[in-house]
Amino acid sequence: MSNNKIKEKKESRRTFLKKTALASTFATLAACGSDTSWDEFFQKNFKTLENDDKNKIIERLEKKYTEKYGKKFTVSGKDPIDDTLFGYGLDISRCIGCRKCVYACVEENNQSRDPQIHWITVLEMAKDKGVDLFHSNSDYDRELVPDDDHFYFPVACQQCENPPCTKVCPVEATWKEKDGIVVVDYNWCIGCRLCMAACPYGARHFNWSEPDIPKDEVNPETHYYGNRPRYKGVVEKCTFCVQRVREGLYPSCVEICPVGARKFGNLLDPDSEIRYILKHKRVLVLKEELNTQPKFYYFY
């Protein structure tokens, strides 16, 4: 009898030790994932939360970013506007390949500067080859653009109506919003990168290390699904500047383009510029045969 009791005690001590070991393992792992707080660690998938919880998280993030960057941060959680489906037009006959959009995007959306992350890739294509990805070059480095023998073909997230990237995500950390924008919950993404394999447009980018944004360059006006600072080990992508377009502004790449090659608007509004383009221009979508149904239209 007494023997049994001693055994029981021993066992409970053992289970206690096991539990502590488990907890400390988790804590170490969490610590390795940078400055994660317990609240943050146990945060649920954002889209499944009630507004109260969402607001609490947003408050916590605003505080955290404000402390980290020494600037007053706002993190919006603004939902899609009703009767809106965003569409994008790109005039390939106008684009000169200056890459101003690439860097405007980096500044607006707080991409990491070291290592560099670009949401827009501009491809240089030979005029005698046409739109042929295998003969394109994303690393062109010229004193002067455009080059006479080439044309330019910027690619970013095509905001597919039938996105292959969201389907494959094992934890529903990425999905298409009502206004057609494909977003990522950076706090829920586990970094498996299956979405990057599934994306036919190279539009998804991974934070291979802790993102580095200089304090004086950081943009403090952010959206939870958009340009708020990201974490090491999560995937990010173009959101049509969700923090701007849901407030009625143009994406920053549209504003910066010096030749007016970039157009943006509401596909559900028959009087919008994007609808005008669809009606009057010769329009193509990239990799049509994959049935991803991009809402990013190239025209000329």
């Binding site: 988790f26 295998f134 447009y201």
Partner: protein, 412 residues
Amino acid sequence: MRWKVTFINFIKESIRVILKGNKWYYTWISSLLVLIVWGGLGYFEQLKNGLIVTNMSDSISWGFYIGNFTFLVGVAAAAILLVIPAYIYHWKPIKEITIFGELLAVSAVIMALGFVIADMGGPDRLWHMIPVVGLLNFPDSLLAWDSIVLSLYFLLNFVVVTYLLYMHFIKKEYNKKIFDKLILFSIPMAISIHTVTAFLFNGIAARSYWNSALLAPKFIASAFCSGPAVLLILFQILKKTTKFDIKKEAIWKIAELMAYSMFLYLFLFFSEIFKEVYSGTHHLVHLKYLFLGVKGHTDLVIYAWASIIFSIVAFLLFLIPKTRMNVVTLNIGAVLIYIGVYIEKGIALIIPGFSPDSLGQLHIYKPSMIEIRTSVMIFSLGFLLFTFMSKIAVEIIFEDLNINKLRSKSHS
């Protein structure tokens, strides 16, 4: 209560067995431990700094880790598939073949899961995949399917093999009614883990190199070669060093079956080559990169040809009765197959899928030192686990370690 005591004895004895061994055993164990520490320190760098310490990039976003994962799922599956011929041909030590197959399956699944975790950007967020607690995207995501079948497969094999060994230990006949069914159930499970893993790649329309309906059949066919290759060598070692008594004919039969499935693999492989080369679409570029090189980049060429030549040579060695029954050529064949399939499911599967990437840009990938060290850590952990479990199994099955012996010992 009695059950509990004997089970604790079983655990205690198992621990005693793995701590005891000859000079060679200790050398083997301590070299594995050294490798685990060396690799572990590398993995720690990755945890600290992120996956930037690997040579993966946005362009080639999977590499060595996922390659090893895929290969090991194949080994895990095929270890059990050997149970089928064992039943059909009534091989004598059928229970032993099953037990060692299951031990290999358990170790291989553990290593496979280790590689998935090593590849994750946020291993601390793994709990997001647990249903109810987290949010598992089932049935849409193939990775959700994979996590389910792999966990089930691990549990199934672990429970069955522990039970079989335990019953052996207490000298009682195992419950045939339930456990024979469980063993048979592990066969479709084995096929399913490798099929689901193939579908993970196969379903991605963006990567034409993987988007072929032959991928899953090819996976299964080549796995049926690599898994038995390991067991073939293990069985011979066991035969030499223990009372394990597998008939020569059974070993030859395994080799013969490997030849047939290698033939099937080669047939599927050439069908795919024909389709790509003859139709000559843009998709050909991936195969071209693998076998000939593109734009002067020939990094994979030597591996690709080695894999295919090794596989063909092994096929011939196992097909011709004379070389199949010769110990030397038999083992050369097993090693060649192992290397051939390792390349086929790793380097030759993952990298051409991403190069050129989805925007047609060609980047070059080679695993970094940290990737190699982390992989060495996971492989060594797996080998250590397999060594320990095999040693326990050998003691119980062949050295007659059992509860009665313990009791008589303590009485005298």
